[in-house]
């Protein structure tokens, strides 16, 4: 097997200048799996629910950067009232 250090690999493949850190890469795989499972369970549950409740289909929430910034602005201005 061809082992490369994570540093060489990342620099070669993606021209990145940051060292992403071995541990920081590995934990993403772990979290990705856990979070992915969460999404799967939620979808599964929704599908079961849909059998009984005929609801409108929710499109996946799209995070528009403007919307994100504006929504934080709204929420915090509400808080400060």
């Amino acid at each position: 097997m061809n082992f490369l250090s994570i540093n060489e690999f990342v620099q070669g493949a993606t021209r990145t200048y940051l060292d992403p850190g071995s541990g920081s890469m590995i934990i993403q795989l772990v979290l990705g799996a856990i979070l992915g499972l969460g999404v799967f369970v939620r979808l599964f549950w929704k599908n079961i629910k849909n059998i009984f409740v005929r609801g409108k289909e929710n499109s996946e929430e799209d995070l528009d950067p403007t919307a994100v910034v504006e929504s934080t602005m709204e929420s915090s201005s509400e808080e400060s009232k």
């Binding site: 993606t14 200048y17 940051l18 934990i27 990705g32 994100v68 915090s76």
Partner: protein, 462 residues
């Protein structure tokens, strides 16, 4: 050709390009190495969309002959000018939080366009026209299917760790950002955070477990096969969303500190408060400054006299609670000319980083046309023992003109400061003040604030 020493010293790390100054204007050289990514950013629609939402700094391509290193240059671009460069250790909690949210939103949007945000440094965000703005055009790279997020660790160090420490432990831990300019080490954050944060899924995974994993894989090489293809695009979206909900859940409620209720407990009647505001306005109109710094500006009550005249104004205050109230107001009213920042004037931001030149001191970011120091001098002179002459010298270093309020010993605020200590300030009088400041300034106007013991001065540097 431009000498290399015109390179802006804060931008040496990224081989994709660098910032440089020419004729007083800021430019960015994009290196050939970055050609593919730059073209992708510009042609994929990502730039257009981020630009439309005013979240990525706008730029125009200019003459390539300006390039300081033409042999490796692909383009020279000129980004739009930012009025004042501020740093994360000068932001209040909500500013850092909004910067974090914007960074995640941009990372997510980039992924939609087949790109990955390779740099999630908090220094890539600036507050421009009242809102956070991502300023590093060269932070995008082509997304490779199955690859983890390269900037994940950086995001956690630069944003999540300080936000968590401020929200869950102590607001003053924001100062750790000044010590660790590449972000707070996660093992340190993990140690400092209360144990209860281990019950919070987001903090448990992105900080505590993250720190543990770092420790475990320290000095271990990880193979390409081990990483590549092991994290799907949808898992990456989930990771970003998890970070986003973690950041959003962190809150610092209205911080009740020393100064936030200052205006309810001071030496002014409503009338004299208005009169003071009117005087400040007259002085500002006389000076017609292009930029204003208000020192010790609290929640920005008097800074707004300047910013309402559409003069870019920075309002510095030592109290993060006051700064946060000010920032919340900026957002609520969508103000474009006010920038609230945390600053301890008795220990202002120094030059930091490599060669002490990566991050500028507060003073190096000046001088400005007009400095304001209202209801401040007694705190410097009496609480902090700064002789009036030294205060005058410092203000003169910061700007051309000065609006300053002298608060005499008869004033109840000063009486309070002196109540618990011996009065070792024989020169702290109106005459002593005039003498000290006349060494550096001409006194243009001197006006007693009606119904108070205080005097307002307009001074011009000699």
């Amino acid at each position: 050709m431009i000498a290399l020493n015109e390179k802006v010293s804060g931008s040496f790390r990224d081989p994709s390009g660098f910032m440089f100054k020419h004729d007083g204007k800021l430019y960015r050289q994009v290196n050939q190495k970055y050609q593919e990514e730059y073209d992708m950013l510009m042609s994929s629609g990502l730039y257009e969309q981020l630009n439309k939402s005013r979240t990525l700094v706008a730029h125009k391509e200019v003459d390539l002959s300006l390039a300081p290193q033409p042999e490796i240059a692909y383009k020279v671009i000129q980004p739009e000018t930012i009025d004042f460069i501020s740093y994360p250790y000068e932001w209040c909690f909500n500013q850092l939080k909004d910067a974090a949210i914007l960074t995640l939103a941009i990372a997510r949007r980039a992924l939609k366009f087949g790109m990955s945000l390779k740099d999630a440094s908090a220094y890539n965000i600036q507050f421009h026209r009242g809102k956070p703005l991502f300023i590093d055009t060269l932070s995008f790279e082509k997304y490779e299917e199955g690859m983890p997020w390269v900037a994940y660790r950086q995001f956690c160090q630069h944003f999540l760790a300080p936000l968590a420490l401020m929200a869950k432990k102590d607001i003053r831990l924001a100062q750790l950002m000044r010590l660790y300019i590449d972000g707070i080490p996660l093992d340190l954050a993990s140690k400092l955070l209360p144990a209860t944060t281990k019950l919070n899924f987001g903090l448990a995974s992105h900080i505590h477990l993250h720190a543990k994993t770092q420790k475990r894989y320290e000095n271990k090489e990880v193979s390409q096969e081990q990483v590549k293809g092991r994290i799907s695009k949808s898992a990456l979206y989930s990771l970003l969303d998890s970070l986003l909900s973690t950041v959003r859940s962190l809150k610092v409620e209205t911080i009740q500190t020393e100064w936030t209720d200052y205006y309810e407990d001071n030496n002014y009647t409503q009338d004299s408060f208005e009169a003071k505001r009117q005087l400040v306005r007259t002085f500002i109109e006389k000076v017609q400054p292009k930029k204003v710094w208000d020192l010790g500006g609290n929640t920005g009550e008097f800074s707004r006299v300047a910013s309402d005249l559409q003069i870019p104004t920075v309002c510095f205050d030592i109290d993060p609670g006051a700064v946060q109230q000010n920032y919340d107001m900026v957002k609520k009213k969508n103000e474009k000319f006010m920038l609230p920042l945390c600053m301890d004037l008795t220990n202002p931001s120094p030059d930091l980083g490599w060669h002490n030149a990566e991050r500028d001191s507060m003073q190096a970011r000046g001088p400005v046309d007009l400095v304001m120091a209202l209801a401040l001098i007694h705190h410097l002179a009496i609480s902090n023992n700064v002789p009036l002459i030294d205060a005058a010298r410092y203000f003169a270093d910061l700007g051309e003109n000065l609006i300053i309020e002298f608060v005499p010993k008869r004033d109840s605020q000063v009486t309070r400061l002196l109540a618990s200590r011996v009065d070792i300030f024989p020169d702290y009088t109106l005459e002593g003040f005039r003498d000290a400041f006349s060494l550096f300034y001409d006194i243009l106007t001197e006006e007693r604030v009606p119904d108070s013991e205080r005097t307002l001065f307009l001074l011009m540097k000699k």
